[in-house]
């Protein structure tokens, strides 16, 4: 199923990174996890407000995000926790 792509940026239009199809650019808006994990992600380059590309997302197994040229692999459970806003194509 194709996720709905919001026209305007609002908190309601956020969706988990795991629901974004491949090759889409998104902006990380929030992480619904403990602070420790948030700082861990930030240190790896995934910080709030960052523009991220969804490089690989098969509907099971881990996914790969691209940010600033590096490729970060995330477990599915983790990807569910990243709330992103899809950029308009």
């Amino acid at each position: 199923m194709q996720p709905v792509i919001p026209d305007t940026a609002s908190r309601e239009s956020l969706l988990p990174a795991s629901a974004v199809p491949e090759r889409r650019s998104v902006v990380l808006r929030g992480v619904s996890a403990g602070n420790e994990l948030i700082s861990r992600l930030a240190a790896m380059g995934l910080h709030i407000g960052m523009r991220i590309e969804v490089c690989r997302n098969r509907h099971h197994g881990p996914m790969v995000l691209g940010c600033n040229g590096s490729r970060i692999m995330l477990g599915r459970g983790m990807a569910d926790k990243l709330m992103v806003e899809v950029c308009r194509a």
Binding site: A33, N35, R40, G49, M73, G75, M78
Partner: protein, 688 residues
């Protein structure tokens, strides 16, 4: 003489830190293209003019939180040893993220120099740096370097010396965390200024920021100062005013500071496009091809290790046989010399039986280091994540386990890259079930002795498979009993593919091979001599000459210390299909698994104890059933890991409790499974 200068090398994983370290010190360090290669700090000496500089290579980290073992190692070194200067190695093509660690290093209050590494790659990607401007914005000297071309090394050392030199270097820029946070930092700074204990040497501002960030280690170090309430109050105030946690805002401000600096000093002329690595990943991580490629790679590793390794093994073996013959030739035939027996039956047989496997070990580590350095290892973790998830672990645990097929010790060391202690302990405890290289001699002795040649390969696979299945089962069991809890979110960087350098791969292979040879020359040599003595003494009193030669030998062995221990063990191991001779060999195997083969050779008094010796196999065939042979392999696969493994588990888990638990649980498991197999097999009449 002036005290040696100490430079600490810090940086993100994959930033080229270890290559720089090798260039600076000329040391032969292994360079990997897999996050977490430097799990322990390494030291070396560099020279600039007539000055000697001590360089410490810290584990690669993304941050200075206390999240994983490597980060703690890196941070504690900087905090407690106070190096004179920190060189932060920065991957130029991923500047912002690398600077995130950089600004935290600056906060530690030690002079910092940035090595802007892999400048050539960044230039190819269309990045253009105004280094003077960047340097003045950050307040830190920056030296461009290209690690693999050894460019910028002298300049880097000179900059590092200058940074310490006069103590008058300009102060580095400071991240401004915004009014609200700065006030909170100021208040906390005042409160922590009178702290005691180990935290007394740490910079005030850094301590205050870390407290706001909820850093557990810093909180614990300041426990007796009673700051908990004040910290919580500040955190609550910030959350109330700014709507986000202090931790998040701090990360945000740091990135804000970095991106401000980069905006003024970095120009990017290239659009983000699919890189070569992405194109390789398209194939390697493909939904259909991915798994076959992965399985093919694993098959290749085993093929290289076991098939390509066979001819050199035969040569080494022939060499030791020749040596044994040559030594025997120095004595008259039928000599009863104790020295001859010690040399030929004890030392040459014992050590030779082990050195024979050097080609296997070298080839296995060659394959592993090619997989690591090329970047495929991280993809293997990706491929295995789903499967590992089913047993309550995640993809990252796969790498230590694969290494465990070579040797459990580096495998257990590699578990340091797992951030979560439950994951780490689970992986560590089941790791010895990955059949290590040292157990291979046992299989290659037993399998041809009892099974037709068409069964050899499948039998070997079966044994490895049993180990893997048991490891999966045990991991699942541990996760649902001793280490319950949700599996930890899995995040890992996929490094770009790089062509492994021949030098890097050979260094790694040779390091491992050297360790193996050292083990053969020390532990195994020592154990061989002890076992030889135990099986040779005390001697039977002279006289009883109406026995034939073979009976005489058996009587002598029974009379020896090893024979007596074996006999004492026999009632316990009889139900597994083992006799006292297997019992004596099992004791030797605790020192090192390979010793089992050497020891069986010694107890069967054949003079030559290498696993290819046909008479030994014939003797085994006469004395045991194929079922018992299979049970020997099964028991040796599962039971007590060797002494060295136990010692490493003790060190890495931090307590004897887990080491002893591993030893007891695996031995019990081996006993129960072997008992079940032998008894069921005997009852059904299979292989007897």
């Amino acid at each position: 003489m002036k005290k040696n200068l100490v430079i600490a090398l810090a940086g993100n994983p994959n930033s080229g830190k270890t290559t720089l370290f090798n260039n600076l010190t000329g040391s032969r360090q292994h360079v990997g293209n897999y996050p977490g290669v430097t799990v322990e700090k390494k030291e070396g000496l560099a020279r600039l003019g007539d000055r000697e500089i001590q360089i410490v290579d810290l584990p690669g980290t993304y941050s200075l939180t206390a999240y994983s073992t490597e980060e703690v190692v890196a941070r504690n070194f900087v905090l407690t040893e106070r190096p004179d200067v920190i060189v932060d190695v920065i991957d130029a093509s991923n500047l912002e993220r690398n600077l995130y660690l950089g600004v935290q290093l600056i906060e530690l209050g030690i002079p910092v120099v940035f090595a802007l590494n892999m400048c050539d790659v960044a230039a190819e990607r269309g990045l253009d740096f105004d280094l003077d401007r960047l340097s003045s914005l950050l307040g830190v000297p920056i030296v461009p370097t290209v690690g693999h071309k050894k460019k910028g090394m002298t300049e880097l050392l000179e900059a590092a010396l200058a940074a310490v030199g006069d103590g008058k270097a300009r102060p580095p820029a400071r991240v401004n965390y915004g009014t609200e946070l700065e006030q909170a930092i100021g208040r906390l700074q005042e409160k922590v200024s009178k702290r005691t204990g180990q935290a007394a040497d740490w910079p005030d501002r850094w301590v205050a920021v870390k407290l706001l960030e909820n850093d557990q280690e810093v909180l614990a170090a300041l426990e007796q100062d009673g700051l908990q309430a004040a910290v919580e109050e500040e955190q609550a105030r910030i959350k109330g005013v700014l709507g986000d946690s202090a931790e998040m805002i701090i990360a945000d401000r740091r990135y804000g500071f970095i991106s401000g600096a980069c905006q003024g000093a970095v120009r990017s002329t290239a659009e983000a496009r699919q890189t070569r690595s992405d194109r390789i990943d398209e194939i390697v991580l493909h939904r259909f091809w991915g798994l076959p490629i992965f399985l093919g790679m694993m098959y290749l590793v085993f093929w290289l290790t076991f098939i390509v390794g066979t001819p050199p093994m035969d040569w080494i073996e022939a060499g030791f046989e020749w040596l044994q013959g040559a030594v025997r030739g120095l004595w008259p035939p039928d000599s009863e010399s104790v020295l001859l027996s010690l040399l030929a039956d004890g030392i040459i047989a014992g050590v030779g039986g082990v050195v024979v496997f050097l080609p296997n070990i070298l080839l296995l580590f060659l394959s592993i280091s090619i997989l690591e350095d090329s970047g495929y290892m991280a993809r293997a973790a990706f491929m295995m994540d789903r499967l590992m998830h089913k047993i309550g672990l995640h993809g990252k645990s796969f790498i230590p386990m694969l290494t465990g097929f070579g040797c459990s010790i580096p495998g257990i060391m590699a578990t340091r890259t797992l951030e979560n202690r439950r994951d780490r302990l689970t992986t560590m405890l089941v790791l010895p079930l990955m059949s290590c290289g040292a157990r291979l001699p046992i299989y290659t002795l037993i399998i041809p002795a009892f099974f037709p040649s068409a069964w050899h390969a499948p039998m070997l696979w079966l044994i490895y498979l049993i180990g893997i299945v048991l490891a999966i089962g045990c991991a699942k069991l541990l996760r649902s009993t001793l280490f319950p809890g949700d599996s930890v979110p899995f995040v890992m960087e996929l490094p770009p593919y790089r062509l492994p350098t021949i030098k890097g791969v050979l260094i790694h292979m040779w390091d491992r091979g050297g360790m193996y040879l050292k083990k053969a020359g020390t532990i195994i040599l020592g154990v061989s001599i002890v076992l030889w003595a135990l099986t040779s003494f005390p001697k039977l009193p002279e006289g009883d000459s109406n026995m034939n030669e073979e009976e005489q030998q058996m009587a002598e062995l029974s009379h020896s210390v090893a024979g007596r221990i074996g006999h004492a063990l026999e009632p316990a191991i009889r139900p597994l299909g083992f006799d006292w001779r297997i019992g004596t060999a099992m004791i030797g195997a605790f020192a090192a698994k390979e010793v089992f083969v050497a020891q069986l050779g010694i107890v069967y008094s054949l003079g030559e104890a290498d696993e290819e010796s046909v008479p030994l196999r014939a003797k085994l065939r006469e004395n045991y059933s194929p079922l018992a042979g299979f049970c020997i392999m099964l028991f040796m696969l599962i039971s007590a890991p060797c002494m060295a493994t136990i010692a490493v588990t003790r060190r890495e888990s931090g307590s004897w409790k887990w080491a002893i638990f591993q030893l007891t649980a695996l031995t019990l498991l081996a006993y129960v499974i072997t008992l079940a197999v032998y008894q069921t097999g005997s009852w059904l009449g299979i292989g007897i």
